[in-house]
């Protein structure tokens, strides 16, 4: 028998289905499922937070290390901020032993941690031109405690992390993708929290001074210093500075708050990079 070579006309070993179509189906399914799962657990976190007392919170987070200021003598400025916070608690009754630390860093940021710890970066203090602005910032952080946002963000962060770990194992491509996708979806939630904390801060400011002068000064400075392109706002955890200013002004009018002259505070000219807020999990 004479051999004559002949090649097969089609390749049976390779599927004809388009890989892009497969990607869409699988990714859509996975994202949908995890979103449902995440939302349910998120609601569970929101619900259970109302039932956690501050004492239990302290016990829960006793083992957690929080960033604190450098060792040694507290500076004059730190003491002044601590005294101011003590004063403010008369206006903002919270079931917490609120403590504050100043961290030496150029960041313009402040953060609320579980157990009533506030961490304020010296970069933010450098930006303060009046005491009223500082009271607003502190009131904002106290607002996070009041609404228990610090627990919420940590709780949701934990949900996301556990989900990714159980489903996919540590440091997985798909896990990291989900993490960022769901993180973006959650920023709207966070922006609502920031607005609510702003509202609380305005009330604290009015209670402390009897007027709300200086409330928007800090945001005006931030607005002038960093211009975020429109497109990036979806990724932002905080509302835009202009929106915050407008909201605060509208609220002050609505509540008939007076605007008066401000009390001076140490002045500095350092550059700003970040906005104040509470940490994301």
């Amino acid at each position: 028998m004479e051999y004559s070579g002949k090649l097969p006309t089609s390749n049976v070993n390779v599927s004809k289905r388009s890989p892009l179509q497969e990607l869409c189906v699988l990714l859509g399914g996975l994202l949908g499922l995890s979103l449902i799962f995440y939302l349910c657990l998120g609601w569970a976190v929101d619900y259970s937070i109302q039932h956690i007392s501050p004492e239990e919170e302290n016990d829960l987070y006793a083992l957690m290390k929080f960033p604190a200021s450098e060792e040694g003598e507290a500076s004059e400025r730190t003491l002044a901020v601590q005294a101011l916070l003590q004063e403010l608690q008369k206006c903002a009754p919270l079931p917490y032993q609120v403590s504050i630390d100043v961290s030496e860093s150029k960041q313009v940021n402040a953060a609320a941690f579980p157990g009533g710890h506030i961490l304020i970066f010296s970069g933010l203090l450098d930006q303060m031109s009046s005491e009223n602005e500082l009271v607003f910032v502190l009131g904002h952080e106290l607002g996070h405690f009041k609404h228990r946002d610090h627990l919420r963000s940590l709780g949701r962060g934990l949900v996301l992390w556990v989900m990714s770990l159980f489903l996919l194992g540590p440091d997985n491509d798909v896990g990291n993708f989900l993490f960022s996708a769901l993180g973006v979806a959650d920023q709207t939630h966070s922006r609502q929290q920031e607005s609510a904390a702003d509202e609380y801060a305005l009330e604290v400011l009015n209670c402390h001074y009897g007027h709300v002068g200086g409330a928007t000064r800090f945001f005006e400075k931030l607005r002038d210093l960093n211009q975020t392109p429109e497109i990036l706002k979806y990724y932002s955890s905080h509302p835009s500075d202009q929106k915050r200013i407008n909201d605060l002004n509208a609220l002050a009018v609505q509540k008939n708050f007076r605007v008066d002259s401000v009390k001076p505070w140490a002045i500095s000219t350092k550059q700003t990079t970040k906005k104040m807020g509470h940490p994301k999990g």
Binding site: Y3, S15, L23, L168, S180
Partner: protein
């Protein structure tokens, strides 16, 4: 930021992966045509044939093909839901055919290759960040030349 890097990697992986695959298939098909008259047989002994064997030698062909970012992501997704990992099918198919072709190319003038075997190994099984996932296929057989 991570998200943007991920999207860029996916697009790069898909773009370059598809381009390289198409090019490779073209080359494979062309060379398979060229070598279609050199039969490869899995039998250990040559079939009865006219003429006598004047030369027999070991013929080997070896290839390593790497997976792209897009394919790996798709396969990782498949890991969750189960089913055929079709994104790896082309990878294995190409490696097998390429190794066989290289084996044929290694013995010019041979009449046929008998006792052909294929071995496969995955290099760096641990496809965590930083390491590469790739497949090796090694084809070998006995090339015989008849007069």
């Amino acid at each position: 930021m991570d998200f943007i890097i991920f999207i860029v990697l996916m697009i790069l992986g898909y773009g370059f992966g598809t381009w390289a695959e198409r090019r490779h298939y073209k080359s494979i098909e062309k060379r398979e045509m060229q070598y279609q008259n050199l039969p490869t047989i899995a039998l250990k002994h040559p079939l009865p044939q006219p003429g006598r064997v004047v030369k027999s030698q070991l013929a080997t062909g070896n290839v390593v093909i790497s997976v792209d970012y897009f394919k790996r992501f798709l396969a990782a997704l498949r890991n969750i839901f189960g089913g055929r990992v079709s994104s790896y099918e082309t990878l294995v198919d190409r490696a097998r055919r390429e190794a066989t072709l290289r084996m044929k190319e290694s013995c010019p003038g041979a009449t046929k290759i008998i006792n052909i075997r294929l071995e496969t190994a995955s290099l760096s099984k641990n496809t965590r960040k930083g390491s590469i996932g790739s497949i090796e296929v090694f084809a070998y057989g006995t090339a015989i030349t008849c007069k």
